[in-house]
């Protein structure tokens, strides 16, 4: 034993023990894992949250020096970005100007025209300011940030923003800093507005940039009440010179003194901008994430065979994500600060760590034997994959370690994260995922048990009979033959389209969800466009609309609400408080002038309303100190980005603002007037708005309340309209619903109750063997050879052939034998059958019976039957000669032929393992060497030989007998019209199409007959309402016609082996044989068109319909779809373990049933299996399609209706009282929406009422 092998064994054993541990104590282990994840993620709390908002740092102006690049010793609270010089220094000159005293002769434009006009002289002053001291002469030109071109996309701003020079912005830029242009501008507001972007904008607008204060505060408006204009002149300085700036400040202060200004001037704020992700980086990032999601999708899609796929996929993703978090957390714990952009490297980390191990684990555990205990399954699965998991992990670690030695810092950091992530991922896989997997597997087993147990409980244990046909026992029935299920729920058949739409809407809560999403989006938009919230907005609106009548008591000044929007950490803590005195001062009173006569009598508060000259008071509050805070935080980045300077990961320093107060005399205002200014109409009197502000708020809130109530009512009505009133009451009132009887859909909608009652047609004395129908009539033939013709609508027996029992007494005697005979036949089966049944009594066995693996412990069944059966024929042969007319060989053949589909409309019914229907597969297998002695030469009609095949067209019954004789009977009169004895080999299958009959014989030959009538075709009368059925109504042969049946062609060796299936449609005859081939003949000239090869077993089922679709199923479990026109194979699928017993097609799908009791539904065009239905063992294999979406299957004493679209069981109709009864082996769907099936010696006619309604 090498070291490697020993190591491998050790690892495997360790994993095994670990798996046992995990599966034994799932809850403690999950708790432990969660705790360790949380513990490892704890250090992450210390990491700053990612965000794009700017951060600030405040220093004192006095001892300011440009920070050096190298971090110094005592950093203190100094942030790590505060290194090196800033991009720029921002110096703002905040100008507040007002015309005072305000004169009633002034027009609204005067509020801002002359104050704005003063900007040019100020600019002049600033530009020309020169500071001269010992070291030299400094001017703004030398200090300011020199900018070059604007970005090429900003051509339209070229006239407004400075280029090739100092970056100095002010409102004067609108007029190219030229006083003449300003003076000649007839409409200042229009000039300002024409540069504004249309629609919603997020970043700073040009107006914000130039004015330097938010639009609301500029006061540049015709309806301004404060009559104070505020704007800034923003200087962007490239280098800092304290002396120049202080001299400029002193100069400006000297020129325009601000009396009551107490702004602090000793702090400068450094603002650091985070990296923002631009479009160019966003696209690759999004691509990476898309690839990541595709990877996760494709990986988790492979999880299969578990109880909850989604749950496990989620667990896998959680495993990877939390291992990444743990890795970052651990790295932080040990002192490593992540420098990489987390969002960028995250997808790569996930991809490197990968989901593979998790999937491998799941696959391995799932593929362990099902019957093992869950613990052992987990342990085995783990230990199976232990070696490969360890190997993979070692390889990945090696690769990452190699990456670590590239010595590139970024890659090293990535590798470190990856290594820690890999290890923690391994830990989580072993503890977290394995435990989740064990819980899942246990749940699956529990679900399996739950599903099987009710059937167990409902079955009397010692009953030797066959299995219950359905998983659920039949509910208590009011009458023996009627079943009322709570809800038949043919919902997709019966419901009209509009109701279905409404149901769909209600079921998916589409409307509610839509409204919810809409609301969320609306709120999102609201919050986005107005981050301060609705309240501030409303307050501002209200206070703006209503002048402050009572000296600040009425409402807050507008700037108060907004000032709190950007409460800077560096701001003065008293800033909000210090605002309050401002309104208390006589500041806003000028506006009160016009409403003095309103306000004065209302309250006795003394105020200055009587003061005739209005002096717009210019006040300086703390909010002016850092006025830039009220701007968008994108203000500075967007200003710099116009010149292709990015502020990402850099900072700017904002210097204390220089206040400038301008008082202009009315005379000056009038002088600077433009001739057109007076044409503006005086501001409209806001009489409506001059109500009490409280009243306005009340009105607003009442309005809002009413709107809210209305909205709620509307939603409620909508809800009531869309959802039915009996929401969840009708359908599932009876508690837990068992699987199997699925009475209504998952949401409790129950369509009206309706009943399906089978109509039993009695009369046959023995089991029914052949069944044929043409829609109006129904012919059946029993083992006794009696043919009865029924009316398919009413169920009346029309004719009995033979009319009087000539050999009836004989038959009675035969009956005893017939009854005993199956016992003989079943002799072989009995022991096996008993074993089988006893096994069924044991719950665990029962649980797994559908699986073929279980038959391994009953291996004696098949050989027993075979050998016994082999010994049977001689005894039959011995018995036959003494008794004339009793043909045991024929009986055997007959028994075989039960499983031959006699008519195209019929679906083949193939053996079920239950004893009453015998062991047909074996019988069929032995068919090859059974050459029954066929009694010959009996007169016409031939009562002795049995009817093996029967067909009904018009009122002619074609019966093929074991003697090889073909008889044509009149269905109404019961008289023999014609017979043909050309062949000697028994007719095993018949096809009757138009006026041709095709007969397949036991020796593999195929005979084509033509039915001739000596009457011209024009005289044929048609019966039946035209258009009612899909197939053309059959011609009716009157009794006067002489009908002859001639053999036109006989294909002697159509197949090497017996023909098992014969179908005819659309002018084609298709035969399937045991020689693995399918042949297609043309009906007219009986010419063989194709021999279709492709099956590796005998053909057992064929389907062909008018649309020339041909499907064939074989003993190999394969289903082939063929193109009848070209003979090519369209698709080839394997669906069943064992024979395909029956095949039906609809326009969209192919339905097959097999010996494995599985019904598979395939997509017809693609050949993909849509779903499959596992039925109980022993269910019949007969299938029928009633409509495009309604499938009917025969079971033991019942028929079941299935919804083809969803695979739901809609209803099970029990045919008789004794539910242990015979299986339904033949099932014919009549075109009046009824089905006929055989039920022992009775026929059962089941109407499907909903389908009738639909057809009408």
């Amino acid at each position: 034993m090498t070291v490697r092998e020993r190591l491998r064994e050790k690892i495997s054993a360790a994993f095994y023990r670990h798996g046992l541990l995990c599966a034994s104590y799932p809850v403690p282990i999950i708790l432990f894992t969660s705790a360790s994840i949380l513990a490892c993620c704890y250090p992450l709390l210390r990491l700053p949250l990612p965000g794009t908002g700017p951060v600030e740092f405040t220093t004192r102006v006095r001892d300011y020096t440009v920070p050096s690049h190298e971090p110094q010793g005592d950093l203190g609270e100094r942030p790590d970005w505060y290194r090196g010089p800033p991009v720029a220094y921002i110096q703002q000159v905040l100008v507040k100007a007002a015309v005072s005293p305000w004169d009633s002769t002034l027009v609204p434009v005067d509020v801002f025209r002359s104050p704005l006009g003063r900007v040019f002289s100020l600019l002049e002053e600033i530009r020309n300011h020169v500071h001269n001291d010992g070291s030299g002469v400094r001017s703004l030109e030398a200090l300011c940030l020199q900018v070059t071109d604007l970005l090429p996309g900003l051509r339209r701003m070229q006239t407004v923003l400075p280029e090739h020079g100092c970056l100095l912005v002010s409102p004067g830029n609108y007029w190219q800093n030229q006083r003449e242009l300003f003076d000649s501008d007839p409409d200042l507001l229009k000039t300002v507005h024409q540069h504004e972007p249309k629609g919603l904008h997020t970043s700073a607008t040009l107006r914000d940039l130039l004015f330097g204060v938010p639009v609301k505060h500029t006061g540049v408006s015709l309806y301004s009440r404060k009559r104070v204009v505020t704007y800034t002149i923003t200087m962007v300085l490239g280098s800092y010179d304290a002396r120049f700036l202080s001299s400029l400040r002193a100069r400006l202060r000297q020129l325009h003194p601000s009396v009551n200004c107490s702004l602090r001037e000793d702090h400068m704020v450094h603002v650091h901008f985070k990296e923002e992700i631009g479009m160019a980086e966003l696209i690759p990032l999004v691509t990476t994430y898309i690839i990541l999601f595709a990877y996760i999708y494709f990986s988790t899609r492979k999880i299969d065979m578990v109880k909850s796929k989604w749950g496990l996929a989620l667990a896998a993703v959680v495993t990877v994500l939390s291992s990444l978090l743990m890795s970052v957390g651990l790295c932080t714990l040990f002192g490593l600060t992540p420098t990489l952009n987390g969002g960028e490297i995250f997808p790569y980390l996930v991809v490197v760590i990968g989901l593979e191990n998790v999937l491998v684990l799941t696959k391995s555990v799932v593929s362990t034997p099902v019957d093992l205990e869950v613990k052992l399954r987990i342990a085995q699965g783990l230990s199976n994959e232990s070696w490969s998991i360890m190997k993979n992990m070692a390889t990945e670690l090696c690769i990452i370690l190699i990456g670590y030695f590239t010595l590139v810092p970024a890659i090293q950091e990535f590798c470190l994260f990856a290594v820690v992530g890999l290890v923690s991922d391994f830990f989580l896989q072993m503890f977290f995922f394995t435990t989740v997997l064990s819980i899942d597997i246990r749940r699956m087993e529990l679900a399996d048990l739950n599903r099987r147990l009710p059937a167990e409980a409902g079955m009397p244990p010692p009953k030797p009979g066959p299995l219950r046909p359905r998983e659920a026992p039949p509910p208590p029935r009011p009458s023996p033959y009627t079943i009322t299920l709570q809800t038949p729920a043919f919902r997709n058949l019966r419901l009209p389209k509009r109701l279905r739409v409404v149901y769909f809407l209600a079921r998916t809560r589409l409307a509610q969800r839509f409204i919810m999403v809409g609301t969320v989006i609306w709120i999102g938009i609201l919050a986005y466009t107005d981050p301060a919230g609705l309240r501030t907005y409303l307050a501002a609106q209200v206070s703006e609309q209503s002048p402050l009548g009572e000296g600040g008591a009425g409402g807050l000044p507008p700037h108060l609400g907004v000032a709190s929007v950007f409460p800077g950490p560096g701001g003065d803590p008293a800033s909000t408080l210090s605002v309050l005195p401002a309104p208390a001062e006589p500041t806003p009173l000028p506006e009160n002038q016009s409403q003095g006569h309103h306000g004065a009598p209302r309250e006795g508060v003394p105020h200055q309303a009587q003061a005739p000259p209005l002096v717009p008071q210019i006040s300086w509050g703390a909010e002016d100190e850092e006025g830039w805070r009220r701007l968008s935080f994108r203000h500075w980045p967007s200003l710099f980005s116009y010149y292709n300077i990015t502020l990402a990961k850099r900072y700017i320093s904002i210097l204390p603002v220089i206040p400038v107060t301008l008082h202009l005399s009315p005379r000056e205002a009038i002088e600077t007037r433009h001739p057109q200014d007076t044409r503006h109409p005086p501001p409209p009197k806001h009489l409506a708005a001059r109500e009490h502000p409280y009243l306005l708020i009340y009105k607003l809130s009442a309005l809002g309340l009413a709107a809210g109530v209305l909205l709620v009512l509307l939603l409620f009505c909508l809800y009531r309209v869309l959802c039915p009133r009996n929401y969840g009451q009708n359908g599932v009132a009876h508690g837990r619903r068992r699987r199997g009887d699925l009475p209504c859909d998952d949401y409790g909608y129950s369509p009206p109750i309706s009943e399906i009652s089978p109509l039993l047609l009695r009369g046959h004395s023995m089991d029914i063997e052949c069944l044929a129908s043409d829609g109006m009539l129904l012919a059946s033939c029993c083992l006794a050879g009696q043919i009865r013709v029924w009316d398919a609508q009413t169920g009346d027996c029309l004719t009995v052939i033979p009319k009087h029992g000539g050999c009836w007494e004989q038959r009675d005697g035969w009956d005893a034998v017939g009854v005993a005979e199956p016992e003989n036949l079943g002799g072989g089966t009995e022991p096996g059958g008993r074993v089988f049944d006893e096994d069924e009594g044991y719950p665990l066995r029962r649980r797994t019976t559908p699986r073929p693996a279980l038959f391994e412990d009953q291996p004696d069944l098949t050989p027993l039957i075979d050998t016994n059966f082999d010994s049977q024929p001689p005894s039959h042969l011995l018995l036959t000669p003494p008794r004339d007319g009793f043909d045991f060989g024929g009986l055997v053949e007959r028994a075989y032929l039960e499983h031959e589909p006699p008519s195209p409309g019929l679906t083949a019914s193939y053996p079920s393992p239950s004893p009453p229907s015998g062991p047909p597969p074996q019988r069929r297998r032995s068919l090859g060497y059974i050459q029954p002695p066929v009694p010959q030469g009996q007169g016409t009609p031939d009562w002795e030989s049995a009817v093996w095949a029967m067909e009904l067209r018009g009122n002619l019954i074609a019966a093929g007998r074991s003697s090889g004789k073909l008889e044509l009977w009149d269905a109404v009169e019961g008289s023999l019209r014609c017979s043909n004895e050309d062949g000697v080999s028994g007719i095993t299958a018949l096809a009757f199409l138009n006026n041709r009959i095709v007969a397949a014989r036991l020796d593999g030959s195929l005979d084509f007959f033509t039915v001739d009538i000596n009457k011209p075709l024009g005289l044929l009368q048609y019966r039946g309402p035209p258009g009612r059925s899909n197939i053309p109504p059959s011609p009716c042969y009157s009794s006067e016609d002489v009908i002859s049946c001639q053999l036109t062609r006989s294909v002697q060796c159509a197949h090497q082996k017996p023909i098992t299936v014969l179908r005819a449609a659309a002018g084609r005859v298709v035969t399937g044989s045991q020689d693995h081939t399918v042949r297609v003949y043309r009906l007219e000239d009986s010419c063989c068109l194709f021999t279709l090869q492709g099956h590796s077993g005998g053909i057992t089922a064929i389907y062909i319909d008018q649309t020339m679709v041909l499907a064939s199923g074989g003993q190999d479990g394969a289903i082939c779809l063929w193109d009848v026109l070209t003979g090519s194979r369209v698709s080839h699928v394997y669906g069943h373990r064992g024979d395909v017993t029956s095949l039906v097609c609809t326009t969209s799908c192919v339905i097959s049933s097999g010996l494995d009791d599985l019904i598979c539904i395939w997509d017809r065009s693609t050949g993909i299996k849509l779903y499959s239905i596992q039925q109980e063992v022993g269910c019949g294999a007969s299938l029928g399609v009633i409509s495009e979406s309604l499938l009917v299957t025969g079971g033991q004493g019942c028929v079941s209706f299935w919804d083809l679209n969803f695979g739901d069981l809609l209803q099970t109709v029990y045919l008789g009282q004794s539910s242990d009864g015979q299986g339904v082996r033949q099932l014919v769907v009549l075109n009046n929406a009824a089905i006929v099936c055989d039920f022992g010696s009775e026929l059962s006619l089941v109407y499907v009422p909903s389908v009738l309604e639909k057809l009408d």
């Binding site: 923002e276 690759p284 997808p347 980045p637 194979r1129 698709s1131």
Partner: protein, 226 residues
């Protein structure tokens, strides 16, 4: 009597809805080629954007033009090359008679693409001390890519050959002045170029093989039947 051998009209089962379209091999070939072409064009555009460095400002007005900042013929060339490579790989596998069995799943292919984008990302964003280090790191990463997702000798050989040819042709284009490096380094070529080419070839080959997998399955089924 006409006997028709079965299996002549078989189609790809997973794309059965297009049964009428995808009936012969040439059609599937064209469709595959087109898919590979579009993947190549898309990757070329995105990776080119990765190389556009930080000097692009926030939401610049010409972000669309920066996607197409290189010459217009580069993405179609990349697309054509990737189509050829993607078709060549399965073809060579078939010729050599050693069908590629290693990790044939879409999730693995996605992983491969992600790693390829990651290599590009690293070459564009990570600051290396010198170009030799850059080249060596990228070479190691590319070979790691091959080892993780391909491990076939034919894949390696083809990758190396195509990478060398592509580098050579780019060099020729540069000499003729059709194309220009912004800053040539390490022996006057972009040192990451061959490695990126190699990784790209491996990735496209992986995608091509995965796309061709269905057809190969079909072929083997057919031969099995015969």
């Amino acid at each position: 009597q006409s006997t028709v051998r079965s299996g002549s009209g078989q189609t790809n089962p997973s794309r059965g809805t297009y049964i009428a379209v995808i009936t012969n091999r040439s059609t599937t070939l064209v469709i595959r080629g087109f898919m590979l072409f579009s993947i190549g064009v898309f990757l070329a555009l995105v990776l080119n954007l990765l190389q556009v460095q930080r000097n692009v400002t926030l939401f610049p007005p010409d972000v669309i033009s920066s996607i197409f900042s290189s010459a217009w013929w580069v993405p179609p060339c990349c697309g054509t090359a990737s189509a050829i490579i993607g078709l060549l790989y399965p073809c060579i596998d078939c010729r050599l008679g050693e069908p590629h069995k290693f990790k044939r799943e879409w999730s693995s292919v996605m992983r491969c693409v992600a790693v390829f984008v990651g290599i590009n990302h690293a070459s564009a964003k990570v600051d290396f001390a010198n170009n030799v280090q850059l080249s060596l790191t990228l070479a190691a990463l590319s070979i790691g890519l091959w080892w993780t997702f391909d491990r076939s000798r034919s894949g390696f050989g083809l990758g190396v050959v195509i990478a060398l040819l592509a580098t050579l042709s780019t060099q020729l284009l540069v000499y003729n002045g059709v194309f220009q490096y912004t800053s040539p380094d390490f022996l006057y070529i972009r040192s990451w170029l061959p490695c990126i080419f190699f990784a790209g070839v491996i990735t496209m080959g992986n995608i091509g093989r995965q796309l061709a997998l269905y057809e190969c399955k079909l072929m083997s089924e057919k031969t099995h039947q015969d």
